[in-house]
């Protein structure tokens, strides 16, 4: 459904991304991990159509992605800079829907459903700055969901949030995927998170970035913060990814 083919991005002489290829099947949850500075965000921006790759391409439903497609939504890491401070939660979530041909009732329904799905039902008329960091990121997720995308791209969305909130948000993403039937590409630097959430993990090398390995994660669903993490397979996968990344970091150093 979503294909990245030999994607490369250079800035002048600097080949940030050398050649990345992988596929994402419908309804899959794919995590992208890699050492710091390996261009994960750049990759995601190219996938979303915000940035044009230097070579290679991204295909969504077999059509090349040249600009941000309607079927894709992106959740940014810095939620406080992505939500509009002059708009209430309701209006923030409604904004992307305004250009879609929907009548008012339908629009409201989508907004209310999305906000309820992220657990913020009573907060519709509050402003982003009145909410905690975790809640703000939920608003951003609600906004992405209301947009009814096929693919949800998430750029280290929980990096700026404390550990406990992060665990809640991880579970939220899993629930939301079930409920809304979306395909998710999730970039993170947190190895535990990547194993916990995904069906497959794409491990990247440091710059110039390529795909080191794609690891299937066959842990049972639904996942649980305690039980899943107690499974021996979890520990094995986690260790495997960790070693891969460490080795890459040492190789470059």
């Amino acid at each position: 459904m979503l294909r990245v083919e030999d994607l490369a991005k250079s800035y002048g002489d600097n080949p940030a991304i050398a050649g990345v290829s992988f596929e994402v099947a419908e309804r899959e949850f794919v995590c992208v991990v890699g050492p710091s500075g390996c261009g994960k965000t750049t990759l995601l921006k190219c996938m979303s159509g915000l940035l044009a790759p230097t070579s290679g391409r991204v295909l969504l439903h077999d059509r090349p992605v040249l600009r941000p497609p309607e079927e894709m939504a992106l959740v940014f890491q810095e939620y406080s800079r992505s939500l509009l401070p002059w708009m209430s939660v309701r209006n923030n979530v409604t904004l992307p829907l305004r250009h879609k041909k929907l009548d008012k009732a339908e629009r409201s329904r989508l907004v209310e459903e999305a906000v309820e799905a992220v657990g913020l039902a009573g907060q519709l008329d509050r402003y982003p700055w009145q909410l905690s960091g975790g809640m703000q990121q939920r608003v951003a997720i609600a906004r992405a969901l209301a947009y009814q995308p096929n693919v949800l791209l998430m750029d280290e969305p929980f990096a700026s949030v404390d550990a406990q909130t992060r665990a809640d948000l991880e579970d939220l993403v899993l629930q939301v995927r079930e409920r809304f039937d979306v395909t998710i590409v999730f970039v993170t630097h947190d190895i535990d998170e990547s194993v916990y959430l995904s069906d497959r993990i794409v491990v990247l090398t440091p710059s110039p970035t390529t795909v080191k390995e794609v690891i299937p994660v066959e842990l049972p669903r639904p996942r649980d913060q305690v039980e899943t993490k107690e499974l021996p397979d979890f520990a094995h996968l986690r260790a495997h990814v960790y070693r891969l990344i460490k080795r890459e970091e040492e190789r470059v150093a």
């Binding site: 915000l50 940014f76 800079r81 992505s82 509009l84 401070p85 002059w86 904004l95 992307p96």
Partner: protein, 251 residues
């Protein structure tokens, strides 16, 4: 500690006022009449004798010039803010025009437009244009890149983007420019009335000096001070309303 602060804040100005009254009470100097005289003259002149003949025309010119400036600044500033080439092309012209000390433009205005109300309104407008224009451009350029990317990802384009994303993002900066322009508006109003007018507060102050009506002159100066203060207060109130979200977000 806080108590002392509040007490001082109220007492010191009052004390200074009292000092002025006392010091000037026995004043024999021509130039510094007793405060009581000034206040008395103030009451006679401005409450409400000369309001219609001087205060109203002054305020009308001020209002008209300021409004024109803001409207034009937004009209021109938004496209300039959005287009880098347009901005670079216009930049030296804008930098030069805005650097001309406003009073130097008065004779030009007189030559081209004459000495009537339209001259005053136009020169107020011209001078007030620049701070708002430049701040509008800066505000639009300075929009957070993450915000811009969010708009792109979610297909927010055209008029919607302008109205709901770009303009609100630029608003704090635009208001900063509007505040500067407000002070300039008062200054130009006064100067233009001193140089080429037959009515207005500025005209009155200069006339009083020329005819050695010193308490009247001081009363006019006092009125201008009050006017400046009141306009600032009004502006701050409006700004606080419109930008309520901004204060909240920055807290």
């Amino acid at each position: 500690m806080k108590r002392i602060g509040i007490v001082l804040e109220v007492l010191v100005p009052l004390a200074l006022l009292g000092l002025w009254a006392v010091w000037s009470a026995g004043s024999e100097t021509f130039y510094y009449p007793p405060l009581t005289d000034i206040l008395e003259t103030f009451g006679e002149t401005w409450l409400f004798e000369r309001v219609g003949s001087d205060v109203v025309p002054s305020l009308l010119r001020l209002g008209a010039g300021y409004a024109m400036a803001v409207a034009l600044a937004l009209l021109v500033g938004v496209p300039l803010g959005l287009s880098r080439t347009a901005r670079r092309a216009a930049s030296p012209l804008v930098e030069f025009l805005r650097a001309i000390p406003p009073p130097a433009l008065l004779p030009l205005a007189i030559v081209v437009v004459g000495v009537g109300d339209s001259m005053k309104v136009l020169i107020i407008a011209f001078v007030c244009l620049w701070p708002v224009l430049l701040n509008t451009i800066d505000g639009i350029r300075g929009i957070d890149p993450t915000l811009a990317e969010t708009a792109r990802v979610y297909g927010v384009r055209g008029a919607d983007r302008l109205r709901r994303v770009v303009l609100p993002a630029a608003a704090p900066q635009v208001f900063a420019g509007m505040r500067t322009s407000l002070s300039l508006a008062v200054i130009m109003m006064v100067i233009s009335e001193m140089v080429a007018s037959t009515n207005g507060i500025g005209f009155f102050v200069l006339q009083s000096q020329r005819s050695f009506a010193i308490p009247e002159m001081w009363s006019g100066i006092l009125l201008l001070g009050i006017l400046g203060y009141a306009l600032n207060l009004l502006f701050a109130g409006v700004e606080r309303r419109v930008l309520a979200w901004h204060r909240g977000a920055r807290a």
